[in-house]
Symmetry: C2
Subunit: 697 residues, 2 copies
């Protein structure tokens, strides 16, 4: 699994140790206004009918579901032509753009255009998922867990039955099948996905256009970004024939118009109790931010070395910049005493209600359990470390593969189950180039950080360093490893599992030496997750009892429908209009003295006269989105593609915890800007024609 955090509203999954505490899959009862990340199997039909007089039928929802695409690197996308064109953000494609770049051919920076399908370049390790069906398997899961002796036994039984359901479904359909935990364990759904693994790059603009304004403009509005790129899925070496795709509407949406967003929000924490929020505010987020800033500075220092080094670190640098800004905004929201007081008052009201209701009173202990858990989370965090570089991750995956494959499928760690094997192979055998100079500085820093966390005299430090300084040790390991070599990994994967452990690679040996300790920490975290999951499941029962079923589960990086209207907002007494224009980008550059990062690429300047004066570029809406929604299509009631989500504004950054209709906004690229750019800037009328359903020449 790629585990970098990414910019825009791409899901941040950069450090598993930081994330373990939040992916709980619980839910919120506070559906109000245009709030909510709704399951396709439980859309807010009543609300839409009452407020917007809109009544989508099953066919509408089903077509939209099947037109939606998930990027497993952490983003969303959609089918936009019957010949397999997939539209997503430049910053969702950037992981692939970076991997397709090399010294002297910087596709991430300079863009790409395929003149014909023959020119389209295969991505080395991309997997796209299309959701085909949703089935409720709650009864089957709960039955298997009934009568378990303790939480650990319950968790094991649940893992086993989930592995069994997934394997059976996967064998039956030939598709990827995942059991998703929703409503904090209140529901289990089986999601069947068609996988596309032959994915080729069709078009990407320059980074200076896609990410115009850079880190400074990130999460700001007004914006002027063409944050889009196009891939094409292939089957049997031919463009795939796609039945369900979104019709393109270059006219885009109107101000005030109802729009929908179909995508994969990564993770929200709206059900969190105030004690859980305090832990986020006082412990976890400050800690995460320290790490992000540390990595950001490290990457800056590495990039100073040469333009080529800068290129190598570019995508990761942008990702960490983005995460830093996102977490700063989230923490800022939590540190507002007014917000917190409101949450405390709400919680108190609910607990009072509980106490006065004999049927619900028994659930009060759930809040207490969650409160008691936070000190344990904090203690566990104090000893958590990570050597999470690409080569170390690969080595650890191989070591665990050797161990897990000796167990029956149901007893393995989830990522080693048979149902996920193909996806796993794609990752560990990826031919994407790994740059050892970058790996070395990251490994050295993570070794140093582990010393800081565990103490320079700790047993772990001795295991890691073998008597050398962190830098010398990283030098030695990187000089001798072969984990960066895809051919070596292929050989290792092809051999018997035991030979992995004895291959002598220093990273395999390191991962082996750390395996017991890393598993101990993982298990300890999972135990806390399990207790917390059960507590939130009880809280979920309370919410169900009070609010009925008009509730949506917290985000789980699975397909959700959100909706809203195209609408500006007020900031510091000033009205921020909903739309920006393509021509405004030039003005924006001039307003910043034509200085980096406000320099549009040459292609834009050359085409300036050909850009219609009124063509919109970006727009904002009240849709309730979060990281993972990057690349989601914005559609109108007629299921037409009118925009492309790529970011949220600063005020939306608290949406992990609460939806802010007043000022929080989702930011999109206007559909017309993309076709205009293709025709008038990028000399790619053939693609614009395909998008707009014009006859192909």
């Amino acid at each position: 699994m790629t585990s970098l955090c990414r910019r825009g509203f791409l899901l941040g999954v950069f450090l598993s140790i930081f994330l373990l505490t939040t992916v709980l899959g619980s839910f919120s009862s506070r559906a109000a206004a245009d709030e909510g990340m709704w399951l396709f199997s439980n859309l807010p039909l009543k609300y839409l009918a009452e407020k917007y007089d809109f009544r989508p039928d099953d066919q509408w929802a089903n077509k939209l579901m099947r037109s939606s695409v998930r990027f497993n690197v952490g983003g969303s996308a959609s089918f936009v032509s019957p010949r397999g064109l997939v539209l997503t953000n430049h910053h969702v494609g950037s992981d692939t753009l970076q991997k397709l770049s090399s010294e002297g051919n910087d596709i991430l920076a300079n863009g790409f255009l395929a003149r014909t399908t023959e020119d389209e370049i295969p991505a080395p390790d991309l997997e796209l998922n299309q959701l085909l069906s949703i089935n409720d398997v709650t009864a089957q899961v709960n039955k298997a867990v009934e009568g378990a002796a303790d939480p650990a036994a319950a968790a094991a039984a649940r893992r086993a039955v989930i592995a069994k359901i997934e394997k059976a479904a996967s064998e039956k359909t030939g598709n990827r099948c995942d059991v998703i935990t929703l409503y904090g364990g209140g529901r289990y759904h089986l999601y069947e996905y068609k996988k596309y693994t032959d994915v080729r790059l069709v078009w990407a603009p320059e980074a200076d256009s896609a990410f115009f304004g850079g880190d400074a403009d990130n999460f700001e509005y007004p914006r002027y970004c063409l944050d889009a790129c196009l891939f094409r899925v292939y089957e049997n070496d031919k463009p795939a024939v796609i039945e369900d795709y979104l019709k393109w509407n270059s006219a885009g949406p109107k101000e005030g118009e109802l729009i929908f967003v179909s995508g994969n929000p990564g993770s929200t924490s709206r059900i969190f109790t105030t004690d859980a929020l305090k832990y986020q505010r006082d412990i976890r987020m400050p800690d995460v931010l320290d790490f992000i800033r540390r990595r950001e500075i490290l990457l800056q220092q590495f990039s100073l070395g040469s333009p080529e080094k800068k290129r190598r670190a570019n995508d990761e640098t942008l990702s960490f910049q983005n995460s830093r800004k996102a977490y700063t905004g989230m923490l800022g929201g939590l540190q507002d005493p007014a917000y917190f007081a409101e949450r405390v008052a709400e919680e108190k009201a609910m607990l009072d209600k509980l106490q006065s209701d004999p049927a619900l009173r028994k659930y009060a202990s759930a809040w207490q359990q969650i409160a008691e858990l936070q000190a344990k989370r904090s203690a566990l965090r104090d000893e958590s470390f990570s050597l999470n570089t690409r080569v170390y991750r690969l080595a650890r995956t191989f070591v665990r593969l050797a161990m897990e494959d000796q167990k029956p499928n149901e007893q393995r760690l989830p990522e080693f189950r048979d149902s996920g094997r193909e996806s796993l192979e794609r990752q560990i055998l990826s031919p994407a180039k790994i740059y050892l100079d970058l790996e070395r500085v990251k490994l050295a820093d993570l070794l140093a950080r582990t010393l800081e966390v565990r103490g320079g005299d700790s047993e772990l430090a001795q295991v890691l360093l073998q008597g050398k300084s962190p830098t010398a040790r990283a030098d030695e390991i990187i000089a001798n490893t072969r984990m960066h070599d895809a051919a070596f990994r292929k050989e290792l994967y092809g051999g018997d599992r035991q030979s992995i452990l004895t291959c002598g690679d220093p990273l395999i040996e390191l991962a082996l030496a750390l395996d017991v300790e890393e598993r101990r920490l993982r298990t300890a975290n999972e135990e806390l997750d399990e207790i917390e999951r059960q507590a939130y499941a009880q809280i979920a029962e309370v919410l169900f009892a009070i609010d009925g079923t008009s509730v949506y589960p917290d985000a789980t990086f699975t397909l959700r429908l959100t909706f809203g209207v195209v609408k500006g907002y007020e900031e510091n007494g000033k009205m921020i209009p909903a739309f920006t224009k393509m021509t405004g980008a030039f003005q924006h550059q001039e307003d910043h003295g034509n200085a980096e990062p406000w320099v549009l690429p040459q292609s834009w300047h050359a085409a300036r006269d050909r850009i219609p004066a009124d063509m919109p570029l970006n727009f904002v809406s009240t849709a309730d989105i979060i990281g993972g929604n990057s690349g989601s299509p914005v559609i109108n009631k007629d299921l037409e593609m009118v925009g492309l989500i790529f970011d949220g504004n600063i005020q939306s950054l608290t949406s992990d915890f609460f939806y802010n209709e007043k000022q929080g906004r989702a930011i999109s690229v206007h559909a017309g800007a993309i076709t205009t750019a293709l025709r008038n800037i990028y000399d790619a009328a053939h693609i614009a024609d395909e998008l707009e359903g014009q006859p192909q020449k």
Copy 2:
């Protein structure tokens, strides 16, 4: 007091909460090779005679002492002409260069040249000190402390007698008189300084020349920096007549030549026990680095706002970049298990020796006391916070002034004693412009950080925030304060002390609200310092007993003499030559593709043909230096100025803890490069003439 950390080898004094634990003024017994930061009253005459056959007399030492100058912002300098020219580093002058700059007139970036003395610009708040005499007052101090009931009483008695000695000396001489604690309290010396407070800028090169290679080249070698600038001291509005100054020698030193460095090393910790070093390695330094990176990113973000914002934050940005690199190097040294094992073995050998010597055995408890102290340091650190912005520091100083001035002189906090009042006034009444936009983002971040340290629900958080978010609260405070206004401060200082506390300024009110808590933390730190000081004084006795008096005290930002030879070193099997050339700077730019930060200023390119092909630019030597030595003159045996210390190499960064003659090097600007640049690049032959003692035109 200016309290920013600074780049190069300027003393880092940026955050008092981070420094309280290190300025102990203890000493090292490990004088070997060219190691040592020697007191002018106890030079290593025997070693110099034996190894170098050099026997300086009292006159030699006295003249050098009086030619040396201390910059109270944290650096060193020297008199280099009879008409008051003072040579220091550009990065030592940069605090003043920044203060003399304004929008559209960026002296820090673009340099400055006074064609005549009339053009020389007065610095707003600079104080230079010239050491005139050293007197041992140990007996007087110890007598006053005799029979104190407990450590707190001893500390109070010591503070009182020191205040009394300083005041008497100051009144008698009219000069600044400081009692310095040396050898961990083994010795107390009274230092008499002549103060120069009318200091004017004469010449500074462009930052691109002074800091060529920027953050990337910082602490690296080979280097190509003209890190120099010139001030002139005035008395009675005329250039001061200086009797003791260094003769300039543009020929510079030769390879292998013995050289001396006279300057003010800020702080070393060479006496530290291994337990104290572990605290530095595992707790303090990682924490300091987290803060530095946080501030660095904050300043980067602020600077993205506009070129003018970038200019405003420039000096501070450079300072934090420098500190980050310095601390990373120091921590890297401590994290090397081989180094640590060596220190542990040395300590064990000493403790074994102790146990076998009945006269020394009683001192063993000192090591134990220091060990036990570290957990208390750590706990105290966990609750330490700071709102250390310029305006808050000013407000707090005013609040304390109101309180302390009601006490007798000997009972006041040291910085409010009568003897330091003039220097204090210069700081708090400085007309240097304070930019509120920069103050606001720093205050908001420090408020947020305090919440992180103490918890969002803590009583302190409530006092700080008054129900608002950190950002909103900072906005409100900065919108209403007048502490940035020098006229307001002057009025406040001129009124009665009580009216300070009731003036209604929000920062005064904040400082008042925090005063009890800030004093509690300060006192708690000072109590730990006192216990530690007494323990190190005992360890000092052991070292005296074993090594005699051939030991030097740890650095205390007072004048010291160090020495060494001009000498290259080996790195990764490659020999790094001692000298670089001025012409090499152009090659260095080309080697980096003419990209920032390797772009020499236009003045250099225009003068390229006029620069002699073989003129050296920088050179390295084995002199034992550390932060605070920036700007120190490098002199030969004949007391001639041959170079100007401005940095150390990466390998020297561990010199806080140990001297590394093998690879650690001090980096200097060659004297000839400065006069060559003045004549051939900066059209300033009149200054070069003055330096070289040529008749003035």
